[in-house]
Assembly symmetry: C2
Homo-oligomer: 235 residues x 2
């Protein structure tokens, strides 16, 4: 038997609550609300404890460190993603729905991209997400390592595209501006600086319906990725 270093996931919570007490679930739920409302920088153990009506260091009995708490939060959020089975609408629509679900989850939890790149996810929800995702890829006829790669490609795209979107949205939020105000500023700034090609590009990306633009961007890119997978399958 190999001795593996402990991790949040391997060692489970003791049973027996006994008296009225803080629980890990409660902490996770409250932290999630705080994080969604104020962003990653706004989450501190002390503020979280205050919101729970407990002493700051009490949390440490339930959760080893703040980083571990964030691991729990990430997995919690993975659980919100819907992935249909391949029998419902085939692999392609399945991946499409998966991607859209993942996008909306990220938009709902804008701190996700930032922390995603600090730690690989290995929580239970991440696992079932993997399982269901691979089922879709399998239905497309891709197997072995390539299955992992293909699923990873879809997820990389979604995370990258939506990550760029939330970066802009969060910048506006932090600056206390509306998205349109921010975008107008960016356009004005680019107007004075960049070369004609980027000026033109900035104009395209900063006029009209910004929400719609992000949405179109996502769909266009997703189409590219799915089409690329389809090409791979046919070959």
């Amino acid at each position: 038997m190999v001795c593996v270093k402990e991790s949040i996931w391997t060692r489970q919570q003791k049973a027996a609550p006994a008296r009225e007490t803080l629980t890990r679930e409660q902490i996770v739920r409250t932290a999630l609300e705080a994080l969604d409302a104020e962003g990653l920088a706004g989450l501190s153990i002390r503020k979280l404890a205050a919101k729970l009506g407990s002493g700051a260091t009490s949390l440490y009995w339930h959760v080893p460190t703040k980083d571990d708490l964030i691991d729990l939060l990430i997995d919690e959020v993975w659980g919100e993603i819907d992935i249909p089975g391949p029998e419902l609408a085939g692999w392609r629509s399945g991946l499409l729905l998966f991607a859209h679900s993942m996008r909306s989850v990220i938009l709902r939890h804008p701190w996700l991209p930032e922390v995603m790149y600090t730690r690989p996810s290995q929580g239970p929800n991440a696992m079932t997400m993997g399982t269901r995702g691979l089922a879709l890829i399998d239905a497309a006829g891709i197997t072995g390592r390539n299955a992992d790669f293909a699923l990873g490609t879809v997820m990389s795209f979604v995370l990258g595209n939506t990550g760029a979107e939330v970066a802009t949205r969060e910048l506006a939020r932090r600056g206390g501006q509306s998205l349109d105000e921010l975008v107008a500023e960016v356009r004005d700034r680019t107007e004075t600086i960049a070369d004609p090609i980027m000026r033109e590009s900035a104009r395209r990306r900063t006029t009209g319906d910004i929400d719609g633009m992000f949405y179109d961007s996502f769909n266009y890119g997703l189409e590219i990725v799915l089409e690329g997978i389809a090409a791979r399958v046919k070959a």
Copy 2:
């Protein structure tokens, strides 16, 4: 004339160094070294100042805030990316080279993905990267908004894929392990927990040459994306 809020990029450095003194370039260079060596969490203004042999708050004369410094660092790093012109090898090989160059830059500066999703890049190097990238897309025959979307898709993929890679590598580094050690641990842990599909997937992803696996993953996904763009062009 619209009054636009100041940004690192709009307001340039005064001339006239006068006496021997700290410079913004020097700060950026030293910060970059520290960041590459110790990661984002290891960069503090005080440590940086110590490394520069100056008082902590002296930096604030040259750089408004730490966040602004990071903006400068990001743009510095964008400058390291090579993008060939389309006349050299056509749009497809051009994008391929671009993607590989971007990947190796991210691997060299593993803190990049983490900060990328906090702020949109608008520095000069980001601009010329955009210009040159769009030239390749244009050569593929994609124009207007779709050009921005297509370029964004390539970059999203690269950032996502390489981001996942550095997440794993950094986890090993922080834990003081080699990549192989970490990966072996992950495999053992997955062996005891996950369902058969993920167990199989974990085995695939944790045996053999890990570096090569990351590389293959990147190439496979990149192929998907480029093939998808090619399909878009033909249609």
